[in-house]
Symmetry: C2
Amino acid sequence: MSVRNTARDESHFRNRLAEIQVTVLAGGVGGAKLADGIAQHVRPENLSIVVNTGDDFDHLGLRICPDLDTVMYLLAGVANSETGWGRSGESWRAMGEVKRLGGPDWFALGDLDLGTHLTRTHLLADGLSLTGVSHHLCDVFGIGADLLPMSDRPAPTVIVTDEGQLAFQTWFVERQWQPAVKEILFPQDVRTTTQVTTALSKTHILVIAPSNPFVSIDPILNVYPIREMVTDLPAMVVAVSPIIAGKAVKGPAAKMMQEMGMPVTSSAIASYYDGLIDLFVSDVRDEDFPDQPDLLTMKTDTLMVDQGDRSRLAREILTFCMELIEK
Amino acid sequence: MSVRNTARDESHFRNRLAEIQVTVLAGGVGGAKLADGIAQHVRPENLSIVVNTGDDFDHLGLRICPDLDTVMYLLAGVANSETGWGRSGESWRAMGEVKRLGGPDWFALGDLDLGTHLTRTHLLADGLSLTGVSHHLCDVFGIGADLLPMSDRPAPTVIVTDEGQLAFQTWFVERQWQPAVKEILFPQDVRTTTQVTTALSKTHILVIAPSNPFVSIDPILNVYPIREMVTDLPAMVVAVSPIIAGKAVKGPAAKMMQEMGMPVTSSAIASYYDGLIDLFVSDVRDEDFPDQPDLLTMKTDTLMVDQGDRSRLAREILTFCMELIEK
């Protein structure tokens, strides 16, 4: 099925969307981009973004939450659009000194970005939950949507590689995701928050962003009872493929699929989400269709280069979903 | 007794000093200045500076060692000469962001300075001792003298005020030493390091810098067995008064003396160190002499405004001590 991208009356679109609750499951850059697109249409009070915290780690004494920050900075309009992570207008004086003093400089922390980590670490030490910290920071950054960590408890993703077990950021950033992945380990005893279960239970549309399914989305689904809730949701569940023209836009998704013996196709992603999703959105550059008879599909241009792209893609997905909901 | 500040042959002075081991007990700014003056004369391998770490604290996730850093930055020639603490050419981008994000900004941490705290916190978490961290940082900063924390264990000074107990930095920086001091508490079970006892046992001259006796020097002396060793040392022990013309050059020393019912005089400082010191150096602006018959005294200009002052004062003290040692 291809999207009917007809010209619609803007106020009609807004009115239809007014009562619609949307939840996004998001990792880093890809998730942030689609979440930002959706935030351009959905009322802030109706939008929740559940973010992967499996990448979080303690570094140089600070609690670093890379995916939360990537989403927060993009939604706040202060993201570095060239790197996809970090702040625009960033400086590197503290990090330059860390390097000169022989400290680890493989994880780049700009001076402005350090302000976030220092404040977060302080607030956590002060007894605030990660959800509370996220709420506070988003408030200051002027973000209306609810940016929700998948859990308030640490839930570190561990990568089993052909060189042994590596902490996520060691594999992802320090080793630049080069060691081949044999297995991905998630903690088995982590629960989500009331804020996440509340958002999920009232959502009409759940969007699985075009983030890495294995190290961005799976960590979220693994947190109890998110996978169970998503499976049973009456909501429309839609996943957007992170594969475009047989490649990952950014990051290790394609390389990991090869290493896991999966074909590097959108259809393989759809199969991976089998049982969870109602609608699968893939790129027009990919001609394959998922082999799942009950799965709705939509093909469009899913490449998000600028804010206009993000807005357009989000609007197409929301329109498609609303038509199905209204049926 | 007044110092005979005769012109001496420089190489003769250096030769006499060549074999002399010197140890300084130092707090923050005053201690750093005299230590820097002494470092201009004494061979680096013959100079140990034992620094107060009772001010150290955890803040924004980082281990902060204010006195160690003040001494290190001054000896490295990168200190901010206007404030007395922190780095020259400093910037404040991270801290500005902490403030904007609602974090605590009462303890100012510049971007370059943060590089030190981030690296230290990382190295401590990595298992290095504070002495090891100090050694490493001094190496990079090109400091030849041995900068020794008074202990590798935390030994936080607690200030009992008329508003209750306050952590040292809360009282000193956040409350700007305004709450009146009733009592100062030191931990009773902290030992010093092998590096400090080795330095003390071989030292010929021990200099108690013109730091605050109550919150900079006492914390050092309280660490077992430093007070016991200083009392029994065969070395020449000399203290320099932090009081000039009846006032403290910087900080709360004079205010604390009043609150403790002590006269704000150099002599009162000499009495405070009674039993520990052989020689007391006070300023020419103060006309009083200690009422301790066996105590040697020296009056000179003890105000250290620039590096020339520091060098001159240090040379006068070293010359005086060497003459006594050579007798």
